[in-house]
Amino acid sequence: MNIRPFLYTLLFLILAVILSIAVGSVFIPPADLGRILIGWLDRANFSEPLKTFAFILTGIRLPRTALVLLTGAALGGSGAAYQGLFRNPLADPYLIGVASGAGLGAVLAMSINWPYSFWGLLAVPVAAFIGALLTVFLVYTLARVGKTVPTTNLILAGVAFGSFATAVTTYLMLRSTGELHRAIAWLNGGASQAGWEPVLAILPFLAVGLGILVLSGHALNLLQFGDDQAQQMGLPVTRARTLILLAASLATAAAVSFSGIIGFIGLIVPHVIRLWFGADYRRLLPLSLISGAGALLLADVIARSVIAPQELPVGIVTALVGAPFFLWVLRRSKNQGYW
């Protein structure tokens, strides 16, 4: 297996991580950054401004970098899986309603005045997570015909239910008093809580979901021949598809629960990887995962710095910067029949 694409994408990810740690509204001079790293074990004795810088790094930037990295990985990986699963270049992780279900859950939770407590603060992410998974379950059940689940049915049921959920969400937002900006911020992505708890909370779900996806490359390759062919080649088609669908949805649901709806990463990253490194899903999946993380980190750096000290919702940046970039890649590619 050619190892070069992995080197490139990993290098990209490492650069993005470094940028994400180095760039913020408070400028930390590289020399001080170095001093903090070297004197890390002795950080209790730091004097100002090193003390504040070290605190900003550990308390704010590192947890945020970790959360954004995981979210991007989940979106990139699930996007690649969805596209392979539905054999549709327009598929993204939100195709069958994960985003609209999560949005409905989140906005419902926001309409209730929770007590200020550990669980009260978890209400929105938990409701979003449950909303997303319930939607996938409902859509899957509705799309089922006997023992098979035709992809067309899945897409149609997903789109229909998604519209319904979005309508309810909009209605709730119009009826609400005052909480509107919170809902809008969440629906545009990037609503975040500081600290490591969000990272730890989504890690197990991402580990299951993305773990399964990374191992599904071969199954997805077979699925590209069509269901009958894949079946003849020895793949238990329905079972494999269900498992991949669940794994991708689990990862996406966990990713959006704390970070809100971030569009475009799950759609574009797999396409760029496919254009540059080919359509073999054994490679495409891990590469999309790594690049998704890098791409979202870069978008987050931009979101934090363009109108600092204010922040843009990261979902706006992914589309604003991602779309032209993708069109450029598409135009330049000689491999026009890549799909």
Binding site: S25, R61, F118, L121, R175, T177, G178, R182, L203
Partner: protein, 320 residues
């Protein structure tokens, strides 16, 4: 193939168990920053319960305050704590001196790094801020007080007194509250004997002039119009900020139109030119007025200015 999945499935619950245990142990520790316990020193500790039912304890009045809401900034400056404010949110634009303070983000997102870098000893959050933001700041070890949105003028006075305790300006604030109360009483005494109350339509946003947004029950606009001797035609709507259809507006036929959205470029001439609006009495008699919405939308001491301005618009002969 599927054996591989099985291994993953076995490993994952283990991982989940580890990390959820970690997560809960990390958060079950009281998130309150470690307060120094009140001791028998010259400065008795200030202990107050805030709008999220958190207990906030300061050993001495705050000297470096970051305000996260425009109303909070106005309160801080009005009670004489302006010199103790070191940071403000993007929308805090009053009083004008506040504009020279560094901003720490705003509506679209608050910048935690910028807040931490200001080394505040108190972050004054308001009703427009989210509990998530309060929790994030708390986890960063900052002292946060969440000032709830008041629903009445009395609750607004209480907020002034609360901020006074936090910043050590209780004497000035007592005088301020007294003067605010007497100004309200002066308006009340002129309005009470009146028998005629004009109907008022207060416009918040007419991006779609066939169903503009107006102030409904529970909002300060509604409360103050009533107190200023007017009848708010939005009083029967179902939320604080609600859309009203042009049909309803025609039926209610307000005698006075107040443009709270004048800051966004709405003018009496534009209102008169809107299709279908010519039938309204207010348009025909030219009773359309631009208005500074900040006077009634920010729950701070300038609500009383708002009350006086409204009373003057509704009853010009009484308030000369």
């Amino acid at each position: 193939m599927f054996r591989k999945y099985l291994i993953v499935l076995l490993i994952v619950p283990l991982l989940a168990a580890c990390s959820s245990a970690q997560a809960s142990s990390a958060t079950s520790v009281p998130t309150q920053p470690a307060n120094t316990l009140p001791s028998a020193t010259a400065n008795p500790a200030i202990t107050l319960s805030d709008g999220l039912n958190r207990t906030v304890t300061l050993t001495s009045p705050a000297q470096r305050v970051v305000s996260l809401a425009p109303a909070n900034t106005e309160i801080l400056f009005a009670i004489g704590a302006g010199a103790q404010v070191v940071g403000r949110d993007e929308t805090s634009d009053y009083p004008a001196v506040a504009l020279s303070l560094p901003t720490i983000g705003g509506y679209s997102g608050f910048n935690l790094e910028a807040i931490v870098a200001l080394h505040p000893d108190l972050v004054l959050a308001g009703g427009i801020n989210t509990p998530e933001l309060v929790s994030s700041l708390e986890q960063l070890g900052l002292m946060v007080y969440f000032l709830p949105n008041p629903n009445t003028l009395e609750e607004m006075y209480t907020n002034l007194e609360t901020v006074a305790k936090l910043t050590g300006h209780e004497t000035e604030t007592a005088a301020l509250v007294d003067s605010l109360k007497s100004r309200v009483a002066a308006v009340d005494s002129k309005i009470k004997p009146l028998s005629n109350s004009p109907t008022v339509y207060y416009e918040l946003d007419a991006t779609d002039p066939t169903k503009p947004y107006t102030a409904g029950p529970g909002s300060f606009v509604d409360l103050l119009i009533d107190r200023a001797g007017g009848i708010n035609i939005g009083a029967d709507l179902f939320t604080k900020w609600a859309q009203i259809s042009l049909e309803q507006l025609v039926v209610a036929n307000p005698g006075i139109i107040i443009l709270g959205d004048s800051a966004y470029g709405e003018t009496p001439a534009k209102v008169a030119a809107r299709p279908g609006w010519g039938t309204l009495t207010a348009v025909q008699t030219g009773q359309i007025y631009a208005f500074d919405d900040n006077l009634v939308s920010r729950p701070g001491p300038r609500l009383v200015d708002g009350l006086e301005a409204l009373a003057k618009l509704l009853h010009p002969d009484l308030f000369k």
